[in-house]
């Protein structure tokens, strides 16, 4: 007998037995709506690498829908805050400064995070799915978990969505910790869909548009030794995902100690995650503490403000051509900023799928 035929016969017998076995079962606990989440296909833009997605929180249509609702809903907090309070779509999901423990922290944008290996300014969190757990603290949402459970149960849509997304038919029957994780996982499923890939720069890379002479000149400064921005903010994602000390400071206290606060390694003092420069025009103020209000300030810093004697200064910052500053002319600087503005993606901030659900 042929191998295929043989398996076919075996399968046929299985089909024969299965329904008759089931008939012997007395209780029928199949829920009214079956739990059948639909896998969500993340659209990887042309030219982007494949993102690494975790097995423990697979993307589903239902999870993304639930996450999007929760992202825009202050139901999660006792103080009216919601993710969108600090992550504003019009600012590429960033928003100015947040003051924590008396120190300023610049709120980073939420874009293309499916490609990042670690998160926050010092890389405090390794799994994107766990970032929102930190929001259930007194400094952020300060939720009363019993109230949160009651609100979700009384909500017209959430109970069904929690069931459809996570097979949880009663949010009161799981622990508060489990609920926090379900909420985080759903929101992060939505956050993973926040993909920006349609800036003028993206279209330039695909040879669909040409840059103006000013933008082109800025592009060359960015991508050559003249400005040397590409080593840390290069390629399609516009970040190298490295930790660097760019020489912002010479004295390090509090948050300024950077990556050291995570690793405890003195060589990491002053090193910060090199952020993607996508939508940089929209995400002022700049640097981890928001010390620079404008892109002019940032470019002037790289041009003439780098502290070369900073501890652990990145090797890239002490190139001979940089020892007396980049020596960019007024025109060079203006053109570099013109290029930085080609990284703005208005179709991203206006994408109806990313705005509050109705």
């Amino acid at each position: 007998m042929k191998k295929e035929l043989c398996y076919l016969a075996a399968a046929f017998f299985l089909v024969l037995i299965y329904p008759s076995c089931k008939k012997d079962n007395k209780t029928n606990e199949v829920p009214v709506v079956p739990y059948t989440p639909t896998p969500y296909q993340l659209k990887v833009p042309a030219g982007f690498p494949q993102p690494v997605l975790p097995d423990f929180n697979p993307l589903t249509e239902e999870g993304v829908r639930l996450g999007r609702m929760l992202f825009y809903d202050s139901i999660v907090s006792s103080n009216g805050l919601r993710c969108a309070s600090c992550h504003d779509a019009q600012k590429a999901f960033s928003k100015g400064i947040f003051v924590l423990g008396g120190e300023n922290i610049s709120v980073p944008p939420l874009e293309n995070l499916a490609w990042n290996p670690d998160f926050e300014w010092f890389g405090q969190v390794n799994a994107l799915d766990h970032v929102p757990i930190g929001d259930f603290t007194p400094d952020f949402f300060n939720p009363n978990m019993d109230t949160l459970v009651r609100r979700i149960k009384n909500h017209p849509q959430y109970p069904t969505l929690f069931y459809q997304a996570f097979n949880v038919s009663d949010v009161g029957a799981i622990t508060h910790d489990e609920l926090k994780y379900k909420i985080s996982y759903a929101i992060i499923q939505f956050v993973r869909t926040l993909i920006s890939s349609n800036s003028k720069y993206d279209r330039f890379v695909k040879h669909q548009v040409i840059l103006t002479p000013e933008e082109m000149d800025g592009y060359i400064t960015y991508y050559t030794e003249k400005g040397d921005c590409f080593h840390c903010h290069g390629s399609i994602l516009l970040t190298s995902n490295t930790y660097n000390n760019t020489g912002l400071d010479t004295v390090f206290t509090g948050q300024n100690q950077g990556r050291y606060l995570v690793t405890g390694n003195p060589n990491d003092i002053g090193r910060f995650s090199a952020p993607s420069l996508r939508n940089i025009e929209l995400t002022a103020p700049y640097m981890h503490d928001g010390r620079f209000q404008t892109l002019d300030d940032v470019v002037e810093f790289y041009n003439s403000g780098v502290h070369l004697n900073s501890l652990n200064i990145d090797p890239l910052m002490t190139k001979p051509a940089k020892l007396n500053g980049l020596q960019l002319t007024v025109q060079d600087k203006a053109n570099l900023i013109a290029f930085l503005k080609t990284l703005t993606d208005t179709s991203f901030i206006n994408n109806p799928d990313f705005l509050p659900p109705h």
Binding site: M1, Y7, C21, Q50, Y223, I313, L316
Partner: protein
């Protein structure tokens, strides 16, 4: 369970067992498994194992230096036959010295036989040294050599700090290699024989070899930054042919 179900189940089991038998009969007698080779790279500076961010090394020119980053490609990894012809085993591999998992890889299905050595390039061979020619992943993308500088990939990023000539200021150095003319061709002659099983091929990169033979490289006079400096890149790439040893 009812009787007819039991019979159906039995028939099912018998069928399944016969499926297995049949499969075994159909397949030809298996050939002995081919060999595999695991290439493992470790790092040292003149016999001292590599510790990052530690100002404890000294090169031939007397520069006191530390190491911050070492990322590079090997390409066209081949075995050399006794008639000097080469058998290509792997197109390319990305190494980040700080990430252990990248510092070894295994080549499967090596036919039985002997070879007189191993050859590869440090860097990407010209046919693939074009932006976008390597698979699109974060490691490869971070090695891109910008289009306005000719495109392709960095062959190596070797970065660290050194004490300047007066010995009072710490500067960075960036030994970046790229461009086809700076491809480093390496051949290591030591016989290897494959006769089933896994063969481990250990190599060590001595970082100080980048700074000597034939050119004694001094950060203060030859430059602490090589990218876009073709003479500096030429010196470093010429020094690169003997950075690896097999043991």
């Amino acid at each position: 369970m009812k009787k007819n179900q039991l019979i159906a189940l039995l028939v099912f089991i018998v069928f399944f067992a016969s499926c297995k038998n049949e499969k075994a009969e159909e397949e030809p007698t298996p050939v002995p498994p081919a060999s595999s080779m695991t290439l493992k790279v470790s790092y040292e500076v003149d016999g001292i194992s590599l510790v990052y961010d530690s100002l404890m090394y000294s090169n031939a020119a007397g520069n006191n230096y530390s190491v911050y980053m070492l990322q590079y490609f090997l390409s066209q990894i081949s075995l050399i036959k006794s008639d000097s012809s080469k058998v290509l085993m792997k197109d390319y591999h990305y190494f980040d010295a700080t990430i252990a998992s990248t510092n070894q890889f295994t080549i499967e299905n090596i036919p039985e036989g002997g070879f007189i050595g191993v050859s590869f390039n440090i860097g990407i061979d010209p046919a693939h040294n074009i932006t976008g020619a390597l698979p699109n992943n974060t490691n490869n993308n971070n090695m891109e050599w910008p289009e306005p500088m000719g495109g392709g990939y960095h062959f190596m990023k070797f970065e660290g700090h050194f004490l300047n000539v007066t010995g009072d200021t710490l500067y960075g150095f960036n030994m970046h290699l790229g461009k086809n003319e700076n491809l480093v061709k390496v051949e290591i002659y030591a016989p290897v024989y494959f006769n089933h099983g896994n063969f481990i091929y250990n190599m060590t990169m001595n970082l100080n070899e980048w700074f000597k033979n034939p050119y004694t490289y001094n950060f203060n006079t030859d430059g602490n930054y090589t990218m876009a400096d073709s003479l500096a890149m030429h010196k470093i790439s010429s020094n690169g042919t003997d950075v690896f040893t097999h043991h």
